[in-house]
Symmetry: C2
Subunit: 341 residues, 2 copies
DNA sequence: TTGTAGGCGTTATCAC
DNA sequence: GTGATAACGCCTACAA
């Protein structure tokens, strides 16, 4: 379909100029049509569009970018070990949602995977104008520089960054509510000695889930001392679960802060001969594929990961279009009952 | 560190012109220094570099791209359901390797996630000059158009595409050897009724692993009829394993074509009360994190996923630099013994 | 070795 | 509404 003339096809791509000639108008007019300017007469617009179709014209991104001082690209920043990032279905879903939203926009998605010195190189990059905006997923307390950059380049965070002010836009779920939901399920089925495996406590999501858990326990008049911190990885969860069982042998339920980690917890429970949910009930978090593919289907707290990604991208696109957008975008969680609790 | 002058910082970025003035040379000379041209006297180069440092100059990508007719970007094409793609540790590792290689190059990585009509839109995009080259991972028989595009834009495939000719460059592991390795382990521990769960048989990798398996079985004088096809997903593996067990009740070993799928197989075996490896031995493929985080650590066929990604990016970068590169890049596999076989 | 000058394909600011 | 005419920032012959 593409007018592939030998090997030089790419370099001889049709230009605005050629379209203008073909339609007997000026370049300016073609530009207006291409950019959907309202002040173009219908007939002329038709003629131009015909010429565009005939020549199979596609605007040159570099030229447009140079003249307009925008890049038409958005950065997806992953300040985390890639393997862990992509290995967690939660993030996969977010990326999926982002891609889906961007698919029918003009924006390109640039993958930014800071390796060694995250902040400095990444910041330079973000400020360099290579991208018009940035999407930041997962971030620890240390990423203060990234958060501050929100004043220089439009960005949207996935998950509430620490110490937010009005200048940062983020999408998150109500992790406090999520933690309470999990604890309440465990209480509802009559468990008394309930523990929890948390995420890294320098991450707000992990802190909030724990806080929700504690709150429910307190309300129920139960101690909330059976807490072990992990790092959202399977290996970390395995170690934490072992510590927890050693310390609290009479544990009869546990809330694990991510489904992926819960698979590790299930493995340890099995190795220790504890039946799930009979001896120890387990509630996860995410409702990711890990929840259903585990040995025992997980009862878990659903969070709309894919939609969160979609919303993140949507907010950024609107931000770039100059529209005002809400700063706090909190999505709701809900319990999904399966077999583990 | 960046000379942030109010809010207009980004738009007032230093240009070649300004550097030239600062160093008392022409723009051409600065350009030469920036692009590492050999024909610049040391003193002048020093002066220019000093000016660059002083002004904190960074070349404008759009302008460079427009003038040089290259984009400085590479596309990572994922012709697959994103969730499945990112959910598989094998792909995560490849992306990791790619990012690592590209990190100390000038190239940007563009994520291309074709949603609806893969070939046409993607092809248009690739040919449009938005990227200088492309990296293609995972692909089914249908992606003929993508493969043909290799003549128009430099690309490197991860995994051997179907019906390759000399024009396509790819990185792959010796899947035939891998299949044999797996089968031989099972034979070595004395199993007689050995089956296999394959990947989608429109993927060369799946076909080759099966062929290797069959070859070893034949050599051993054993039947290779206990074969069930799956799709590299956990859910698919679970279904396939159930079919296999129903059809071949006396199965005493199974080679599963990916670790991720093997976790599904383990779950089914457990649900059917078969002990692993006592009743049924299991060998996986990949040696991904899934292999060690599963309930029973998997004996598996290691493939250097991260290195494959690194090599893919490396080959493409060299290709773009005009260097000749080998077309077939086959990496070796090896058995990793753990508990499942 | 270094400088000059033209052009890369768009957008944007003016007049008309 | 439409059309000239500058930029936008850099690369690259070609000259010097």
């Amino acid at each position: 379909m593409q007018a592939a003339i030998g090997s030089g096809a790419r370099s001889s791509a049709p230009t605005l100029e050629m379209v203008a000639r073909e339609a007997n108008v000026s370049r300016a007019t073609v530009s207006r049509v291409v950019n959907g300017s309202p002040k173009v007469s219908p007939e002329v617009a038709r003629a131009v569009n015909a010429a565009i179709a005939k020549l199979n014209y596609v605007p040159n991104r570099a030229a447009r970018s140079l003249a307009s001082r925008t890049s038409g690209a958005i950065a997806l920043v992953i300040p985390e070990d890639t393997t862990r990032f992509f290995g967690d279905p939660y993030f996969s879903a977010i990326v999926q949602g982002i891609a889906r939203r961007l698919d029918d926009s003009e924006y390109l998605l640039n993958l930014l995977v800071p390796t060694s010195d995250p902040s400095r190189k990444t910041m330079r990059y973000l400020k360099s104008g290579v991208v018009d905006g940035a999407l930041i997923v997962s971030h620890h307390e240390g990423d203060r520089s990234l958060r501050d950059a929100a004043r220089e380049i439009p960005m949207v965070f996935g998950g509430r960054p620490p110490n937010v002010d009005e200048s940062v836009v983020f999408v998150d779920v109500d992790n406090l509510e999520g933690g309470m939901t999990a604890a309440e399920r465990l209480l509802a089925i009559g468990r008394k000695r309930i523990g929890t495996i948390t995420g890294p406590l320098d991450m707000p999501a992990a802190v909030d889930r724990l806080a929700g858990f504690r709150q429910s326990m307190e309300t129920a008049g139960l101690p909330a001392d059976a807490v072990e911190e992990a790092d959202f990885s399977v290996a970390g969860a395995i170690a934490a679960t072992r510590r927890l069982l050693d310390r609290v042998p009479d544990l009869d339920a546990v809330f694990v802060a991510s489904d992926l980690m819960a698979t590790g917890t299930l493995a340890v429970l099995r190795e220790r001969g504890r039946r799930v949910p009979d001896d120890v009930a387990v509630v996860g978090f995410d409702d990711s594929p890990a929840a259903t593919s585990s040995a025992i289907p997980l009862t878990t707290v659903y969070q709309p990961s894919e939609e969160m990604g979609f919303l993140m991208a949507d907010l950024l696109v609107r931000l770039l279009a100059g529209e005002p957008v809400p700063h706090r975008n909190i999505m709701r969680t809900r319990l999904v009952r399966r077999q583990s609790a």
